[in-house]
Symmetry: C2
Subunit: 358 residues, 2 copies
Amino acid sequence: MNLDDLATQPGEWLRGDGPLSEIVISSRIRLARNLVGFPFLGKATATQRRELQRILRDRIKTLKVDDDVFYVEIDRSEELDRQLLVERHLISRQHAEGDGSRGVAVSGRETVALMVNEEDHLRIQVIRSGLQLDEAWQDINHIDDAIEEDVEYAFHEQYGYLTACLTNVGTGIRVSVMLHLPALKLTGELERVFRAAKDMRLAIRGLHGEGTEATGDFYQVSNQITLGRSEEEIIDDFKNGVIPKIIEYETRARDLLVREKSSALDDRIFRALGALENARTVSSEETLFLLSHVRMGVNLGRLDSVDLKTVNDLFLMTQPAHLQKLRGERLTGEERSIARAEYIRQRLAGGGNNNNNN
Amino acid sequence: MNLDDLATQPGEWLRGDGPLSEIVISSRIRLARNLVGFPFLGKATATQRRELQRILRDRIKTLKVDDDVFYVEIDRSEELDRQLLVERHLISRQHAEGDGSRGVAVSGRETVALMVNEEDHLRIQVIRSGLQLDEAWQDINHIDDAIEEDVEYAFHEQYGYLTACLTNVGTGIRVSVMLHLPALKLTGELERVFRAAKDMRLAIRGLHGEGTEATGDFYQVSNQITLGRSEEEIIDDFKNGVIPKIIEYETRARDLLVREKSSALDDRIFRALGALENARTVSSEETLFLLSHVRMGVNLGRLDSVDLKTVNDLFLMTQPAHLQKLRGERLTGEERSIARAEYIRQRLAGGGNNNNNN
């Protein structure tokens, strides 16, 4: 398994068949950790960074997760590969664009990613399809413990885990659930739902996390508070609090559309499909928008000529770096738009599916 | 043959297979005539209007055109039927919405229409598919002469035919050519072409003549001057002057798009088709816009899954009155948009073609 394989195979969490996957795309947990005996990265020398990477990489190598783990040295990677990892949600944009020795370990099924020398010495991420926060928590807890057997984390009795940024001090946990909320968008209720989430000190972000716009009706809901509550309490807030509530609202909005505005609903769904099947040039932003409506159509049973797997694949493979990896060449923006339209047409016509490893 | 047949069968000029029909939709000539011994309609009494209609209707009845002629008394017609005749370009909006005794005689193939008591006592119209001005002129000249055998036209040695509106005095002729100019629109050259036409004292109008917006890239070019030039000279200006010039420009623009912007061109064409094949609700205005691009695609050979006859039929049958006649019921705007989308999908899927009499 390496980066080129990654470009053509969607990982586990992209299967799109996890619990409640009509609305919940993925459940993600991330832990921020730093090692004792080294300064935070802002103060670390190049030598210290290299040493940190060596220690953590060695530790990760012997880690037992459910499948192979491969390591990518980000500072020695090509731009396209770094972008691919960002599109895959395996590293942050900051990590892709940063400086100095740094890397990421990725499990073959992409459920686990460990960023070394991003903002903290180590960031462990577990991501799962649908609503699987308990499973993700079990996995990440196990990995966290296993790493700690060999290295010592910076930990303060009173404050908890110490992190480069104050907002992560404490548990160092960030729980993120990616939701697909096209119906709430269409009925205009999204703002109200988001205001309620913000009142609960939750952050709402776009597809690619911090600082990104919501595109294609995908929204990441994540906690902002890491101090003063246990990991289990934070996860419980999501699992039994805010997420079921949003799912309920979205479901109600979808029912309403089906019941009272089925022509307008189908119009959006089928026009989106028609555009995807016929476009000769299409931007990644428009693609997200169109796929979002098709996805809703499939999930609501309004549309049966396309399956969810194809839709999920398209979300992934039509991203700029993926597209260029698939083509095996660098493309300009205009060339990408043409190649993207071509790829989508091919996939929707049932052909060209060379990335199906299920 | 009657009005209900009309609603389901496109006439001769809508076959779309006349000369240069890739760009020229139709050639139309209209003559304005008034009878001696009656005032212009603005001054006529109800009795005089009725008498005028009786005389002209009797005269028309014995007229020999190439197929059956049927007469519709507009003031006794339902609104939907009047609207149907407008959509069919057989009567003007003014005639549909006017007052008093008035009517129209229509030949079964719709090449000939004679409006009685519109703005003038009689308006003779001949319309042909593609660029056929000579043929239209021969036909209308013959009809004009035949009518004049029995009735006397108001004619002045110096001024020519006398008409209710001064702009028609002289020959009383209006020549109109309907053009489809999507490529000039896309390349942004349309304004320049139109300015040149206006310099030649030609009027440019939308699909439904005076006071209507150009929709779906269809434009009517017609003469504004009827005095001081013979009918043949006016027709010659069109046939050998302005129309070949505009055709040349549009052809050049189409070639340019094919050669240098084929992705952008195909994108428009196929997205338009995709929208028509998938929409669940669509306005008549958007339908025109979409069909316009599909028509261009068929004519440029970029698209072969649809034939021109289907496209032409759709232009006609998706109009509000046609749609309601087809459905056999009155529909609200929203219901029409849904019915229109349904009809289009059915026709594009190759079904539901119950209006093919060729």
